[in-house]
């Protein structure tokens, strides 16, 4: 192979040296590279096919498990959700039967989706900020107008503090949750004969033995015990002055005496189901000058505004009472 190469040039009739052109070199290099690339691709693919790194192995196993169990768990979740839906229906049926109403109970509690804000895109985020600032302005305006009302009420306080202080403003069962008020004041369904009648107070459902407290300060004017399975059963009346009397009935036990002075929040007995009652609850009445008033108008101490609104809404439902 050694030795210079020659071409025969028929024009000059001489042998001429073959010159190696740059073009030739380039072609050769490209050929090397092209084949090299083919080998590279082949090798990488081959390596993928044959070799399995520990990381890959681990990931592969995990993915397989994730895939498999996702199917199983999704099926389980769907089944559970279906059963939950059935239970919700049963719950609604129970509720409607219990309260003789066709109305649904309070709307489903909203599942707190806190992460929603985080995954929102910037535009959404801006919009929610706008909404928030708008709401803030609204609230601020509302607060200002309320403030004036409060100032007006504060002036009443000064003039007639005793009157206001005597009002039975505390809920007679503590701690109080608005959902405990299961039947309000007004026309309700009687649980025994299922006819409509006027319910003169509110029914606060509570477990037997829950302490019943005085809604305001006053004097115990009446305590009555009765074994009769009709009427008020064991009950207590408190005179708050200014014509206000509160009545606490269907008590299990009474721990105050007639004539005793009582402070707001002092325990006077415990919740029961004595008298004509179908469930342990407190039947609570507010009477002014012999006329029964809607107690919801008085129960306000320690109840936030939105909760109070919920309370009013609940108390307006024309359902079945408990006595």
């Amino acid at each position: 192979m050694a030795g210079t190469k020659y071409h025969y040039n028929p024009k000059t009739l001489r042998y001429e040296r073959v010159k190696i052109s740059i073009f030739n070199v380039l072609i050769t290099m490209i050929a090397y590279l092209a084949f090299g690339f083919v080998f590279f691709v082949g090798l990488v693919l081959l390596q993928n096919l044959i070799m399995e790194t520990p990381i890959e192995k681990k990931l592969r196993a995990e993915n397989k498990a994730l895939d498999q169990h996702q199917v199983i768990l999704t099926a389980q979740l769907n089944e559970s959700n279906q059963r939950l839906a059935e239970l919700k229906e049963q719950d609604l049926a129970l509720y409607q039967k219990l309260f003789e109403t066709n109305l649904p109970p309070e709307s489903d509690p909203v599942y707190p989706d806190r992460e929603e804000l985080l995954i929102a895109d910037p535009q959404d985020f801006d919009e929610s900020i706008d909404q928030l600032s708008h709401r803030f302005t609204e609230l601020n305006t509302a607060a200002r107008s309320y403030n004036q009302t409060f100032r007006y009420e504060a002036s009443i306080h000064k003039n007639d503090l005793g009157h206001v202080m005597a009002l039975p403003t505390l809920a007679p069962v503590q701690p109080f949750e608005v959902e405990k008020l299961v039947s309000g004041y007004g026309i309700r369904i009687n649980p025994f004969h299922k006819g409509n009648y006027h319910h003169d107070g509110v029914d606060i459902a509570s477990p037997r033995g829950t302490p019943v407290v005085a809604a305001g300060k006053g004097r115990v004017v009446l305590t009555r015990r009765s074994d009769l399975v009709a009427g008020y059963g064991n009950y207590v009346e408190i005179d708050h002055g200014f014509g206000y009397i509160t009545r606490y009935s269907h008590l299990e036990d009474i721990v105050v005496r007639q004539g005793q002075s009582i402070k707001k929040g002092e325990v006077l007995g415990s919740v029961g189901s004595s008298g004509g009652s179908i469930a342990p609850h407190l039947h609570y009445e507010v009477i002014k000058n012999g006329v029964s008033l809607n107690p919801v108008r008085f129960i306000m101490e320690g109840i936030a505004t939105d909760r109070y609104e919920a309370l009013v809404a609940i108390s307006k439902k024309q359902n079945q009472s408990l006595d």
Binding site: G3, T4, K5, Y6, H7, Y8, Y32, L33, F35, G36, F37, V38, F39, F40, L43, V44, Q47, N48, E56, L59, R60, N63, A65, L66, H69, Q70, L73, Q76, L77, S80, R83, L84, E86, L87, K88, Q90, A93, L94, Y95, K97, L98, P109, Y111, N190, F192, H193, G195, H198, A205, P207, R208, L228, V229, A230, G231, S273, G276, I278, A279, P280
Partner: protein
């Protein structure tokens, strides 16, 4: 370029055409391939050094997608659990209080069903294991809540029967009622002329006015007696019994089941009586109680008529 190449051969002093033997050609090709292979190998090594394996990347990507889906699955589980909690809360705090049952405590609700093969324990991936645990817990809670709701429904049905059985209405309609004698207890008997307890209330009404059963129950006695005239005795259960006397006639027989509001007879003047009226008694646990407590005096006539109608409908549907 298809020119023939020559080499100068100094021995023969001639230019000779270069002849490439197959051996040489094969060698050249091998050379070429060898160098290319080396190049390819170098490239592969560098690629491996710089980048992860393709399969690895693919698997990692798939892994990420799956994990995102799993996170969603976890959230869905949480949501189900949350809604179930709301149901349980309602059950414990509202229904159980009203139906006078003890609330189930949390440990009772979350107690696993013993002996069940747990798939979750064999899985080492926390994402999967916790989901299984959660799902298992939800299933158990669903079982318990389902039982609980069934129990509550049964209890409510029992109580509904009890409430329906209780004497709760007036036995004579206000439409017919002329006067209600509210004397209960000792009084001078108008015919016998001496003091004897009056254990019920007298409803004065024209002869023939319908008398209604005041609660659901079974007729115990329906017969004529010397003092009570045509008399019906209804056993309501739950400690309650009612007695209706001085009827012109009764239209029920002993052993018959009656509904509240069903007509059982008509007002009359039979037995020891001076005028057409109904004598109505209630016994609770064998003791006479004043019936005045067992009907709603604030029930208006329209409401009363409605109740009577319901009672009469119930009868026709029973037959």
């Amino acid at each position: 370029m298809a020119k023939i190449r020559y080499t100068y051969n100094p021995e023969t002093c001639k230019y000779e055409p270069v002849i490439i033997s197959p051996r040489v050609a094969g060698k050249r090709i091998l050379n070429f391939l060898g160098v290319s292979l080396l190049l390819g190998l170098a490239g592969t090594l560098y690629f491996n050094y710089r980048y992860p394996l393709i399969d690895e990347t693919l698997q990692a990507e798939r892994n990420l997608t799956l994990k995102t889906q799993w996170r969603v699955l976890h959230k869905q589980l949480q949501k189900t659990s949350y809604q179930l909690s709301a149901l349980e809360h309602n059950d414990d705090q509202n229904y159980r209080v009203i139906l006078d049952l003890e609330p189930l405590d949390q440990s009772q609700r979350e107690a696993g069903v013993g002996g069940r093969e747990k798939e979750s324990e064999s899985i080492s991936y926390p994402l999967i294991r916790t989901a299984y645990e959660q799902a298992e817990k939800i299933k158990n809670r669903l079982d318990i809540e389902s039982q609980s709701l069934k129990q509550l429904m049964d209890e409510l049905s029992k109580k509904e029967r009890m409430w329906a059985s209780r004497p709760a209405i007036q036995p004579v309609s206000n439409r017919d009622l002329k006067h209600l004698h509210t004397i209960f207890g000792l009084r001078m008997h108008p015919l016998l002329g001496y003091v004897r307890p009056h254990n019920g209330l007298d409803f004065t009404a024209p002869e023939g006015a319908p008398i209604y059963a005041t609660g659901d129950g079974t007729v115990g006695i329906a017969q004529y007696s010397q003092s009570m005239g045509n008399m019906v005795f209804i056993n309501h259960g739950y400690g309650f019994q009612t007695r209706y006397g001085h009827m012109t006639k009764f239209i029920v027989y002993a052993g018959e089941k009656v509904k509240r509001g069903q007509v059982i007879g008509y007002v009359g003047d039979t037995g020891l009586s001076v005028a057409a009226h109904l004598h109505y008694e209630i016994l609770y646990n064998g003791v006479y109680v004043n019936p005045i407590n067992f009907f709603q005096r604030d029930l208006n006539n329209k409401e009363y008529e409605k109740l009577i109608e319901i009672g009469s409908q119930a009868v026709t549907s029973l037959d």
